[in-house]
Symmetry: D2
Subunit: 352 residues, 4 copies
């Protein structure tokens, strides 16, 4: 196996999903998995699904030295926002490839960190070097990249739902509503009052509905595509599933357009993207994250209400795969010169 990989923050859901996917990656050996809370325990102590896998691998407490000593070539960091900033810099400067699944390198504009995350970004120069790891938009820049900012899950869904419309400037770019519905795994692995099963199951609950941080990413990327400023109002809602996110990107058309035109537009935009599947017409009619469960697919589609000139772009993802670990692997595959789908050719689970 050609690459030695360290997974930082490996005991959470994103970390666990990285381990699940990397177990199937033919070019990867996982040489370190860090966890403060579970240091010393085998990985299946937390990730019950991995019993029988990674024999001998135990969580280690995170330390820069330990990771460097592991002779990892690549670091996938699932540390929380802000926490890993200093470390990822060190690894990057030590010559490792860094795939950061936190928000630490997603925004190009250092100012934006103050606005959206409440801290001053200490390494604006690194922001210039980081590539936003959404292969459908940045495939070329990813080749050879050594610092990859893996996108947020809601941002991924929002962008994929609307990218063709934004690029073509078909809709009012100042009046976009992205109403997202997400499963409970998006909240991470830490129990809270709101995540307690009796409180969380059957919920249909707005959260951070006054403007969610992932809007910053969506605005950045859609603006780049459109060539002018795009404003996105992003409102997530917690629903009962464990996995899955559906972004419904509602927008107002600037001119009349036929359904077939939109269909060609979406099909053309994603022609070379192996993990985007267009769902239109045939069952189930529209994207539903239920049917991408466990896979790296984004199912994309749209609905046109001609009466009102309203179009909704939909994107359905598994938030832990295309919304996190799978997309990180996909982006890194491209960076490493591997086929984009290496280790990721898995059909979704159904019914699930």
């Amino acid at each position: 196996m050609a690459y030695r990989v360290a997974v930082l923050g490996a005991s959470g859901y994103t970390g666990g999903e990285l381990l699940r996917l990397l177990a199937l990656h033919p070019e990867v050996e996982v040489v370190a998995a860090t966890s403060r809370e579970y240091a010393g325990k085998p990985v299946h102590f937390v990730h019950f699904n991995l019993r029988g896998w990674y024999r001998g691998l135990r969580f280690t407490p995170f330390s820069v030295d330990a990771v460097l000593k592991s002779e990892a070539d690549v670091v996938f960091s699932a540390l929380p926002h802000g926490v890993g900033l200093e470390y990822t810099k060190t690894f990057y400067e030590s010559g490792l490839t860094v795939v950061d699944l936190s928000a630490d390198y997603r925004l190009r504009n250092p100012e934006a960190y103050k606005t959206w995350y409440g801290f001053e970004h200490p390494y604006p120069d690194l922001l210039e070097k980081a590539v936003y790891g959404l292969p459908e938009l940045h495939r070329e820049e990813l080749r050879g990249a050594r610092l990859i900012a893996s996108p947020g899950c809601n941002a991924t869904a929002a962008i994929l739902a609307l990218a063709p419309l934004a690029k073509e400037r078909l809709v009012d770019l100042s009046r976009i509503i992205v109403d997202v519905k997400v499963g409970s795994s998006e909240g991470g692995s830490k129990p809270t009052r709101g995540s307690h099963h009796p409180e969380r199951e059957n919920a249909i609950r707005p959260y951070e509905p006054r403007g969610h941080r992932h809007a910053a990413e969506a605005e950045q990327e859609l603006s780049r595509l459109a060539g002018s400023e795009v404003r996105v109002s992003l409102i997530p809602h917690a629903v009962s599933s464990i996995r899955g996110a559906l972004a419904s990107g509602h927008a107002w058309l600037l001119r009349e357009v036929e359904e077939q035109t939109l269909l060609r537009l979406y099909a053309g935009f994603y022609r070379d993207s192996p993990f985007v599947r267009l769902v239109h017409g045939t069952p189930p009619g529209y994207p539903d994250p239920k049917y991408v469960a466990g896979s790296n697919y984004a199912d994309v589609g749209f609905a046109l209400e001609k009466r009102l000139g309203r179009v909704t772009g939909f994107a359905a993802i598994d938030n832990l795969v295309k919304g996190a670990a799978g997309q990180a692997v996909q982006a890194w595959n491209i960076a490493a010169g591997l086929p984009e789908d290496t280790g990721l050719r898995l059909p979704p689970l159904k019914p699930a």
Copy 2:
């Protein structure tokens, strides 16, 4: 008990919910419950929850004569759209009070039936007599009414979420998105491929996303409040719950407004509505249909994104109660001169 009630189409979910609520209504005796499919069976043969209730009551096949012979004073009709039109007319003209839970009398404009339901309404004169049974908007007209058009569930949630904003004309009335999330019971009691448990559970699925019929009701009612034409784009999404609908009514403010102003606006609008509860600030922060389960409450709230001038009105209901059977009873209570909450004073179930 003062009133003799017949429930038409009593074996479906709305019918069952009417029977559940009427069992607790001190002024009502159910004298007939019709069902073609289950004629001759006791009501608990279908409504397993009602075992031990309505002893001796069996479903009867529907016939005008049978209902008239039952000496019912009031008919609650849960027959499908179009199916009951002729019969409800007959009952109304025979002097009975008719509460129709189908769409047959909801729209004032006969033309609208062609557009939205695909048939020519045969009794435009009755449309003029019917009162739209949303007590929060039509409490006065309901008093003494004999033909009540009980609102659609999605329409109820959409209207309650946005009514204060529409009345005050605070938002762009031509650019309203109502993104609704609903549980599986909204689809009725008939099994289909899409409602099969392995296919329906964990779904996050747009349905009729090109403009749902309930938009016609929302437009009618919000326009009346605003005094000018309101356009509503209504997009439902099926999510995993059994009961519950949340309408997220996204709109663009026409002028800057403070959160406190909105709070007063909503509080004022619903001051006299015993079944509307304002959820703002205190936990759970925003309306969630989980916390109205089994009750006639509509929990209403809003979120303001000042950065973009976007406001979202939320309304959470139990689609079978405030979205159907409960609201029908509430409206009829008013029509009959009873206290509005007669038979409906039930706290929601939690956790559920």
Copy 3:
């Protein structure tokens, strides 16, 4: 309202359910609701369903004096096992009626507390005064009782499933397996790793499968019925529902018996029990806790495998109602000389 009631430990699920049910009880005024964690907050701060109810009632920190000063006649205690022992004694000796929903007074034999709960019971004399609050078995003793030990949820289901068989001594009383399936609310309101939604939903998980404490109650009560020692092996399994417990009591017949004989036996045993409904033959065929949701019913039935001489008694309850709060109210109603179903005449919710 004739009775002043204090609810101790009112912020948990059992406490919340007591408040929900007592809100509908015509003879009760809740004068105190204690909670250490939420002292000072209105009850709806925790019990979102109760928004609009109990206006003015706030949680108070628990203290004996405060409860006595509230001039409560009755105390419903949902404090944890062991925690409330001293207090309930005080209240009882001060002349109040005490309904204790913990295990503190359920076992007659003081020795059993060492075996099953790991502490020496300090008040064996009180154990003699306490009445086990299962009305179906102790209706007569409950009349006038002032210390009621409300049964455990799994014990309630186990006993109701098997009582007729035990009383008739139809089965091998030394070889009884009670396999229970329960929803997540049984674990209480405190978030844990195992109750975290992504970990709890879709679980089918044995817990405490080496012999659950509620077996002690089941053995005590079934032995009393049988007139000789009954051994019960009770194995709970956590399943996905929020509410609901089904006990499947598997036993081996000592002699051949016909289905009709069993049917008569069960029907006879529960003839005077308004909250037990026999489910046999008609749909849904066997008891399912889904169809008692929110109500105080226990649906009871059985299945006979003649080939092997095996009979399974089933009892389906809502663990928070018949398994906790509802049963406590029912038992107290009897103690207080009120009709057994006062405040409890509520049909289950369906579908739910």
Copy 4:
């Protein structure tokens, strides 16, 4: 790819799961997928997860000739019990390898078909040639087999839970209770009243509790292991999950035994079985099908109640994988001389 495979009855859940797994099998090309209902449609018309896979493959109506013409080497038949009997015989006699996922060849004793399935088995000679496709018990016989009877899902779980105890004759072999809890996908893909989402979700429902057919398989296999007649009372319960079955095999010990002895017994029995994982002691403590989702694993464990001499063997499987399609592939791999886990090395999905 070395083998040409035809999947019969490919539009149901088992068929879909076969297609999902065979898509990842390096030695297999699927050359035909039959479906009466969906003939002419692409496979993703039904199996939404497979969009983008099997390009060009459409369902064909079943016919013996068509399958023979497809030059398939292997037939996986997911046709219903009885329906495929004649066809599988023809394929077998034409020299194809037949893996039958129905019950048609599972029982060795032709008489048993009358008792359990209500028909006289027409080909008792074939029953002698068929190998029961549970690799953990029949690995050697499977090598080179051309007629494989793939086990039932409940039977698989029941047998794996109890096999070590039966072989060692540690328990009363005449008094075994297997209480199974299963997800909704076990009922197949056809919508019914009971599988309708609002009726099925939150159910805890005994089904066929008077003795389920899969007991016949469990008795046959456990008897073989024990060397004497074993009686199994098998009682399934439908619970809320989509995938997953947990068998809790309750039995009475014939002699005292220590936990460590049992642990060694189970570990020894499954030493060479790559898809059985022993769960004991470390979290989650006991097998839970949640943690084998999507995989071919059977997680096996036990609980000992020393007080009563009761032991419960647990086995948790994904009913569509180890309980159906995955096990069929595993057994065929062995028959074909391939590594047992070819195409099946997939970690379960978690959380899911």
